[in-house]
């Protein structure tokens, strides 16, 4: 399966989460937000000033840092 890390998703593109490789506290944070395998995620804006990008996750706009987005493998639709 050709997966890419989340931070490669560009503004306006939609994808599905394949796996999460995050560390302990980040992993729990993602679970709290409902980010699990199979969740649909859309990129809204990328990197203002550098590291934060905003994504649409289950109807909420969440900004995630590039290094954390690196730990989420997705497949684009």
């Amino acid at each position: 399966m050709n997966t890419i890390p989340l931070h490669k998703l560009r503004a306006g593109e939609k994808a599905t989460v394949v796996s999460l490789k995050a560390t302990d506290s980040m992993h729990r944070r993602f679970l709290d937000l409902g980010l699990i395998e199979g969740t649909s995620i859309t990129c809204l804006m990328t990197g203002a000033g550098g590291t934060l990008s905003a994504y649409l996750i289950r109807n909420a706009v969440i900004a995630i840092r590039k290094k954390d987005a690196d730990n989420i493998e997705i497949i684009t639709e």
């Binding site: 679970l31 203002a48 550098g50 649409l56 289950r58 109807n59 909420a60």
Partner: protein, 719 residues
């Protein structure tokens, strides 16, 4: 809204662990309000829980903390149809998996303290995520009522919720509300009271994968009867399998269920093994969370209908407000605009207050003369106390009463998270998180509010850094002084242009403060508060149209009362103290001159003088009295001069040796010095530690002294 209840949070600084050894923690028991049934209010942060709590309890509430913990507790009384209930506001959490002290408190209270009813408040615009908590709570207690709040917001975003269907799926009462408007609260309370009467024992059943379900059954069979504790066997079995340390201890304490009991232990171990072999790559906790998330997704898919999730207005606005090119410039412009309105808008009220109050002063003086009061006493009361009080009211109050409401408007609008979004990059470099940008903004209004707002930062280490550096952003008790001094010494123009220039200078000062915040944060993160940056995500909530008039009115009134109160309790006594110090002599020298003389050498190196330092020291209770104190010290009788006369102010200062260098150093020290007493108290409360409060006091002070010395040295080279 971030600036709500007070919060005391004990910070454990060994790495980033939140919990100490479970055995050393006291039990969680609240004093019972006898005979009253209890309703607990739970929910995600920012869903309007506090609004509902406040509306239900009105003034009949009190805040404190959960016994044995330093997490905020608000509790009060409400009534419907003649029956009274106790209402407890549980900390806002996204789930009950106990990843933080708040979640632990919430979970333990709901599970082991048996509130008669739990009201879960959810956000209609974001139902799916909120359902996570609802489902988790529904597994723990059958006495559940769901409140779908912010229906007015949902309507604006074209989101509609089928409340009846939701109620069918969850098998609990669901009431829709718009708490901000007070709509639906009666029905909510009624539903809660009916639920309490019912005494149901039907829990929400979350469907886990088959192997987990069989595991739960097998462990459950080994458990004693728990009906008397009003706890669900299924839930306890599930938690035993999950094996979270702190909860295991609490289960032992409260229910006397011991994992050391062999049959139970074996059942749990074999249950875990079976699950592990069916799902070798996934943690048990993850399997459970996944089932909850999927069920929430399923229910909300059926029940919530929306046309456009990220509303196009929000999308367009954010494209500008958070863009690489325009984000920060727009931010600066917005701040400049707010400052300009504050400065300009304050002029007329200041004049009016000043002339009005001088009439009052004359009247007061005549009255005292009429009563044959001795001259010294008249001087003390009128020139000392009354004048200081009136000066503070006419000069300091208008800018504060204008800035705060404007700021609250921006906050209510939802703009502040966008600021955090734009600045996160800088904060990441300082090894802290973007939420510090938010607390910094709150500090612009009032440093104490900024410090208590730091509870939105999860990591204890980063929270401390944010608290210690909050004072580098000038609160609006310092603005008027900065504006006055900078306009006297640095801008020669008059009229409308002058206020634009003043606003510009103030913006420059604030930006310097931000820069210092970033640098000191980095320094702290490398030295005494070493640690790794925490898991950081930032939610950008939808823009909300604030009820403009209502916010402006309430905020202005609140702020005015607050400043007036502080003026009476702090400024008036300070005026008294200075008058006494100026007029009581030891030998030939007044107390004031004596102490100023003592501080003079330090003052000189800092580019200031002894009187200015004295004023800062006496200004510890409130920043707004520093300038009045300086002025009073210079007027040789320790009496205040009339407010509003900028030229008199200017000549008084220059007569006493003030130059541009002095002004510059004054601005520097005003920006970087110890926090005011209210802020210090708040830091003590939030951090629970005298040590860190001392650090918060010393770091800005020492830095301020050093900076002033530097500025004085360099500036003198140029003059």
């Amino acid at each position: 809204m971030y600036t709500t209840k007070t919060c005391d949070k004990k910070t454990a600084l060994s790495g980033d662990r939140h919990f100490k050894n479970a055995a050393s923690r006291p039990r969680l028991e609240l004093e019972s309000r006898d005979a009253l049934k209890t309703i607990a209010i739970a929910g995600n942060p920012n869903v309007g829980k506090s609004t509902i709590f406040n509306r239900l309890t009105g003034l009949k509430q009190h805040t404190g903390n959960w016994p044995g913990k330093t997490v905020a507790l608000a509790d009060g009384v409400t009534a419907i149809s003649g029956e009274s209930f106790r209402v407890v506001d549980i900390p806002g959490t996204y789930s009950l998996m106990a990843n933080s002290a708040e979640e632990e408190v919430a979970r333990d209270y709901i599970c082991f303290d048996n509130p008669d009813c739990v009201m879960v408040v959810t956000d209609a615009t974001c139902l799916e995520r909120n359902l996570n908590l609802v489902l988790q709570i529904g597994e723990i207690t059958p006495n559940l009522v769901v409140c779908v709040n912010l229906l007015d917001e949902a309507k604006r975003k074209n989101i509609s919720i089928d409340l009846e269907r939701l109620s069918e799926r969850l098998c609990v009462p669901v009431i829709g509300t718009s708490a901000r408007r007070g709509a639906g609260l009666d029905r909510l309370l009624k539903a809660a009271s009916v639920k309490i009467e019912e005494e149901s024992n039907k829990y929400i059943n979350i469907r886990y994968p088959k192997v987990v379900e069989t595991a739960i059954k097998s462990v459950s069979a080994q458990l004693p009867d728990l009906k008397s504790h009003k706890v669900s066997k299924r839930w306890i079995a599930l938690k035993l399998i999950e094996g979270e340390e702190t909860l295991l201890h609490t289960i032992e304490d409260k229910l006397s269920i011991y994992l050391s009991d062999h049959t139970l232990e074996n059942a749990v171990i074999s249950a875990r093994e079976r699950i592990k072999s069916a799902y070798p790559t996934v943690e048990i906790n993850d399997i459970i969370v996944r089932s909850i998330v999927l069920m929430a997704e399923d229910i909300s898919g059926e029940v919530a209908v929306s046309s456009d999730s990220y509303k196009s207005f929000d999308r367009k606005a954010d494209r500008i407000l958070t863009s690489k090119r325009f984000g920060i410039p727009v931010m600066l412009l917005l701040l400049l605009l707010v400052l300009w309105i504050t400065i300009n808008g304050a002029n007329v009220p200041s004049q009016m207050l000043s002339s009005g109050l001088s009439h009052v002063e004359n009247g007061f003086r005549s009255l005292l003369v009429f009563w044959n009061t001795p001259d010294t006493l008249i001087s003390l009361l009128v020139d000392g106390v009354a004048r200081t009080l009136f000066w503070v009211i006419s000069v300091m109050l208008p800018p504060m009463a204008i800035f705060f409401p404007l700021f609250t408007l921006l906050e209510d609008l939802g703009y502040l998270p966008r600021v955090a979004y734009n600045l996160d990059h800088c904060f990441e470099r300082s090894k802290t998180c973007g939420k510090q940008a938010l607390t910094m903004c709150m500090g612009l209004g009032c440093n104490a509010a900024g410090v208590s707002g730091c509870r939105i930062i999860d990591s204890p280490r980063e929270r401390l850094v944010a608290m210690i550096t909050n004072t580098f952003v000038p609160c609006n008790g310092r603005f008027p002084a900065m504006i006055a001094i900078s306009s006297i010494f640095f801008s020669a123009t008059v009229g409308l242009f002058q206020s634009a220039l003043s606003a510009g200078i103030l913006l420059l000062i604030i930006s310097t403060g931000v820069l210092i915040t970033l640098l000191v944060s980095r320094l702290l993160s490398e030295t005494i508060l070493k640690g790794i940056p925490s898991a950081f995500t930032l939610e950008l909530p939808p823009y909300r149209k604030p009820d403009i008039l209502r916010v402006l009115w309430r905020s202005t009134v609140d702020r005015t009362l607050f400043v007036l109160g502080r003026a009476i309790t702090v400024a008036a006594p300070a005026g008294l103290v200075i008058w006494v110090m100026a007029n009581v002599t030891i030998g030939d020298i007044s107390l004031l001159a004596y102490s100023a003389g003592f501080l003079e050498p330090l003052g000189q190196i800092m580019g200031l003088d002894g009187y200015i330092l004295m004023a800062f020291i006496l200004g510890f209770p409130a920043n707004e009295i520093v300038v009045p104190l300086i002025l009073m010290s210079y007027a040789s009788t320790g009496s205040m001069l009339e407010a509003g006369s900028i030229s008199e102010l200017s000549s008084l200062l220059t007569q006493n040796g003030w130059t541009k260098v002095t002004a510059l150093c004054f601005l520097t020290f005003s920006l970087v010095h110890f926090p005011c007493s209210t802020t210090c108290l708040t830091i003590k409360k939030e951090s629970g530690s005298l040590k860190w409060t001392a650090v918060s006091f010393l770091v800005p002070t020492i830095l301020g002294i050093l900076l002033c010395m530097l500025v004085a040295f360099v500036a003198r080279l140029f003059t």
